[in-house]
């Protein structure tokens, strides 16, 4: 069959490959090249070596965004996973209304980032109104607002994955632990948690990449205000391209750095899941 099928490249693979070249391959390699060039449109690019990278790393907006993003990612990964795991524990006990709760907790995940940003802007500004300020008053308001928003959006999703993980634990393992006299706390610590570690890895990386690459929510909630202090990396790259004349090359250099960081995270994930597969 391979021989017959091989002749059908144009039918089976070509449409996707053409779209892939247009939307990904060409833009990617052009992007790498342009990060070493000075340009205002693609056609007037001039090679400038690593100049853009030097300027990116001496740009206080970029460094601030890097710090903000790193801090935000760490805080939201921990908060989301802890809360989602606790919820998953509660919702696997056979309590009344479990299905309704699960449905409701997951729902925010389907709402788009822009809409989420404005929903939370209303709520947070409403609360801050009592103190006579709004979310753009200080970057830390934007930070915690974004953390709460991200929790609201992603807890339900991670909870679903943890529930699946907990339900995958064979019932007799838990039963055996109980017969051996393990307290509920010991069962949780020494049986349940070790057995849901694959889910923990998945959820950690999902929240990690989603938080790190966040754009829409950041754009809608604060737009980087005040003075771009609450801008995350993706928003800072956007600002460099479209908000600052003469920064296109620097923006592209920042984008390459951003890509390398994201790829680095993915690589670590791949190695961790690979090594775990070997153990099993």
């Amino acid at each position: 069959m391979q021989k017959t099928l091989k002749k059908y490249f144009a039918v089976f693979a070509l449409p996707t490959v053409i779209a892939f070249v247009i939307a990904f391959l060409v833009p990617f390699f052009m992007g790498v090249y342009l990060s070493f060039a000075k340009f205002t449109t693609v056609t007037n690019a001039k090679w400038v070596g690593t100049d853009n990278y030097v300027r990116a790393f001496s740009d206080s907006n970029f460094l601030n965004a890097l710090g903000f993003t790193a801090k935000f990612t760490v805080v939201s990964v921990i908060a989301i996973n802890v809360l989602a795991f606790l919820l998953a524990l509660l919702l696997t006990r056979g309590i009344r209304g479990t299905n309704l709760f699960r449905t409701a907790f997951f729902m925010p995940n389907l709402i788009g980032g822009i809409v989420l940003g404005y929903i939370w802007q209303l709520l947070i500004n409403g609360v801050l109104l009592n103190f006579g300020v709004d979310i753009t008053f200080d970057a830390s308001y934007g930070f915690w607002g974004l953390v709460v928003l991200m929790n609201w959006q992603m807890i339900g999703y991670m909870m679903i994955i943890y529930i699946a993980g907990i339900q995958n634990i064979p019932g007799d393992v838990i039963e055996a632990a109980q017969i051996d006299g393990a307290t509920p706390r010991q069962t949780l610590l020494y049986v349940t948690i070790p057995l849901v570690m694959p889910s923990v890895t998945i959820c950690t990386f999902l929240t990690l990449t989603n938080s790190f690459k966040l754009f829409d929510q950041n754009f809608a909630l604060t737009g980087g205000a005040p003075a771009r202090q609450s801008a995350m990396l993706a928003l800072d790259i956007f600002n460099s391209f479209y908000g600052r004349m003469g920064y296109e090359g620097v923006g592209q250099a920042k984008a390459v750095v951003f890509f390398l960081l994201v790829a680095g995270i993915a690589l670590v994930q791949l190695m961790l899941t690979r090594s775990r597969e070997v153990e099993n």
Partner: protein, 278 residues
């Protein structure tokens, strides 16, 4: 022991119920405010509408006119449906081809698709918009090509993963019986891929429907999808119309809730499968 366990579960039930309402508050707040006059929203968002602040459906009428909501809805629907259809059709064919035909070309393609999954949008944002402009893809038809290309990585990867687990014998016997590869694919292979196709469809539909930055940069000045229209309402005018914003937020959440409640089973399955593989 049994009794105290039951009582404990009741306490947990009450706790979950409170949490349930806390989770719904943001949406309820927007809903309530969408029925208030625009001057009464920012300075008293937690007040319920009363005789002076209640504005009926004025905000809805106003907002729908301001951002041409139903046109935006039409663009969102058109782009989502056809992009997802194109992704399902073309990436499943591609995945079958590169999994069944072993050659240097197909394995390079496979690794390129996998590689594209880890590249964030910002990396290709600027250049992709330029390429789309040059090739005249900056319209609701052209953007389907962009979505197919940029979404191909994950979809090909997921289809390939499934195809690898399907025995090749059935396909071979169908070829021996005189089916062409095209017939074999559509009559034999594609029906087997159905579960994965549903997962891929759900994941891509969620992505395309809610996507903001890509359509904003590629077609946003002429064709506004819902997220772009919402953003336009926010930033386009000197003073922002909070009433219209609230009403449009509600209108943009409704289709999502309807979709979720009707396809809940598939959505949960889809995001679970997507999480494990992506």
């Amino acid at each position: 022991m049994e009794h105290s366990g039951k009582r404990f579960n009741t306490i947990l039930f009450v706790f979950l119920l409170i949490l349930f309402f806390l989770f719904l508050i943001p949406i309820l707040l927007v809903l309530v405010n969408s029925f208030k006059g625009q001057l009464f929203i920012s300075n008293a968002p937690f007040a319920l509408p009363d005789a002076t602040t209640f504005s009926g459906i004025d905000n809805y009428v106003n907002g729908v006119q301001k951002i041409d909501f139903f046109r935006a809805f039409g663009y969102s629907l058109f782009i989502t449906v056809f992009s997802v259809a194109a992704i399902i059709l073309f990436t499943s064919m591609t995945a079958w081809y590169i999994t069944r035909v072993k050659s240097p070309v197909t394995s390079v393609l496979y690794y390129l698709f996998v590689f594209s999954m880890v590249v964030p949008f910002q990396m290709v944002m600027y250049t992709m918009v330029k390429v789309a402009n040059v090739l005249r893809l900056d319209n609701p038809f052209g953007i389907i090509v962009i979505y197919l290309g940029f979404g191909a990585g994950l979809s090909v990867f997921m289809f390939s993963g499934f195809i690898k687990s399907v025995p090749v014998d059935i396909e071979e016997s169908s070829v021996i019986d005189g089916c062409s590869p095209i017939q074999t694919f559509f009559l034999i292979v594609f029906p087997i891929l159905r579960p994965t196709a549903i997962t891929v469809a759900i994941l891509n539909a969620m992505w395309v429907w809610n996507d903001f930055l890509l359509p904003y940069l590629v077609i946003g000045t002429k064709f506004r999808t819902i997220p772009i229209a919402i953003q336009y309402l926010q930033g386009g005018y000197g003073s922002r119309d909070m009433g219209a914003l609230m009403a449009m937020l509600v209108l943009s959440i409704i289709p999502i809730i309807v979709f979720y409640l009707t396809c809940q089973k598939y959505i949960i399955k889809g995001v679970l499968a997507g999480a494990v593989k992506g």
